[in-house]
């Protein structure tokens, strides 16, 4: 790992100022970034830790009933503190990595990284959440822009993510047991005005909404409504863990399971 300066500001304003330095990079829990640095795949001049910013910590319920999670909140905290207010999201957080990883990794870090097999992007997109940064609010539909690519600008920090709470929701993860990422993960959320289905782990373009399934399930919320529907295998990831066809098949299977879990 190349050396870097380390800073740990206690306010968002100070963090933004520190990130103004050339090649400075934000550090969430570091559960992806530190291994990346060890591989020398990144060489920031400075790491700006977001873990000391009190206003970016914790889970709270907004006046409109939405669940707001600070960007620096760990997966373990979300699993515990959102369990009553948004159980499906808490369950997703409790399935990430392993206990020690969940004690460090943060929601903001995961979402900003947008790993194509990470769990949180599915939860954020499937819920139709709003990503709040130090400068603006970004709808989930506009935020994720392909594998490891997001709408975030240089030096922009995810300070909070706001989740509208659906009538029912479920995250179904087909575990890749070596990495503990999702081989395929489907987050399904049923709102009064329709169903959202977000898929992670499967596509070469990162997390995506499966609109055909959403339309079918909005009309009729039964697993049978998905009969005959399948994502195009051509766009799926194919690797030694699973072929394109296998992942496409898993998307259908996990979506059905999510419907059944919500029924």
């Amino acid at each position: 790992m190349y050396n870097f300066e380390f800073e740990k500001p206690s306010t968002i304003a100070d963090a933004v100022a520190a990130l103004g330095a050339e090649d400075a990079q934000a550090l969430g829990g570091g559960q992806t970034l530190i291994p990346t640095l060890k591989q020398r795949l990144a060489a920031p001049s400075a790491l700006v830790s977001l873990s000391g910013i009190a206003e970016m910590q914790g889970v709270c319920i907004e006046d409109d009933g939405s669940v707001a999670i600070g960007g620096a909140t760990t997966h373990a905290t979300v699993a515990r503190e959102a369990a009553a207010s948004y159980p499906a999201l808490a369950a997703l957080a409790g399935q990430i990595g392993d206990p020690a990883v969940r004690n460090r990794g943060t929601i903001g870090g995961s979402v900003a990284n947008n790993d194509p097999a990470a769990c949180y992007p599915a939860g954020v997109l499937g819920s139709g959440a709003t990503v709040v940064t130090n400068t603006r609010q970004i709808a989930a539909d506009d935020f994720f822009q392909g594998m490891f690519t997001t709408a975030l600008d240089e030096g922009e920090i995810i300070t909070q993510i706001r989740f509208p709470v659906p009538q029912a929701a479920s995250y179904q993860k087909f575990l890749q047991p070596a990495s503990r990422f999702a081989l395929v993960g489907v987050y399904l959320a049923r709102f009064a005005d329709g169903v959202r289905v977000a898929v992670t782990g499967a596509s070469e373009d990162g997390v995506f909404r499966w609109s055909e399934a959403e339309e079918a399930l909005t009309k009729e919320f039964r697993a049978d409504a998905l009969m005959g529907l399948k994502v195009n295998p051509m766009n799926m990831i194919g690797d030694l863990h699973g072929s394109k066809d296998y992942r496409a098949h898993l998307v259908s299977v996990m979506t059905k399971r999510a419907v059944q879990a919500c029924s």
Partner: protein, 161 residues
């Protein structure tokens, strides 16, 4: 270089470290506390698990400077003051929960974190909690047994596989 201060097993320590110095490196190379093992160095294996402010973390995947001001617990702090093994360590010995012993510091620290939050875990809960701790010798069976025993539960219910 920057100064880092923390308590390790209740003792105040400090040192000058680089930004890139890992907590595992600070413990091992600066403090000479080599009980914390670095196995994979990619946050997969869990041999480096320590407690930071009471929570299990992988110390090879956390910067030393991130632990500034924290209370850190390591395997060296598990034995009682007179050097005798604590309940978890004794259970690992009694139930042959180790062979080569390389993963054991991380296993014991994970077990301690589990039992703090969940004093009487089921076998399934133990196996699930140890997802991030790899052991290449034991097949996990006797580790699970040891943790069951350390929690004061009957280990007879764990069928040999």
């Amino acid at each position: 270089m920057a100064q880092v201060s923390m308590t390790v097993n209740g003792v105040a320590v400090s040192g000058d470290v680089e930004g890139r110095t890992l907590l595992s490196g600070f413990l091992r190379d600066h403090l000479g506390m080599t009980g914390t093992h670095v196995g994979c160095d990619t946050a997969q294996c869990g041999a480096c698990v320590v407690h930071v402010d009471g929570q299990a973390v992988k110390s090879c995947n956390m910067l030393a400077l991130e632990a500034d001001g924290s209370e850190v617990g390591t395997i060296e702090g598990q034995a009682t003051a007179d050097g005798s093994l604590n309940t978890i360590q004794q259970a690992f010995q009694d139930h042959h929960g180790l062979q080569c012993g390389f993963c054991t510091p991380g296993m014991v620290m994970s077990a301690a974190a589990l039992l703090k939050d969940n004093p009487r875990p089921t076998e399934a809960e133990i196996r699930h909690y140890l997802e991030g701790n790899l052991c290449r010798c034991t097949g996990y069976h006797n580790i699970v047994k040891a943790i069951m025993a350390a929690s004061g539960q009957d280990v007879g219910s764990i069928a040999a596989e």
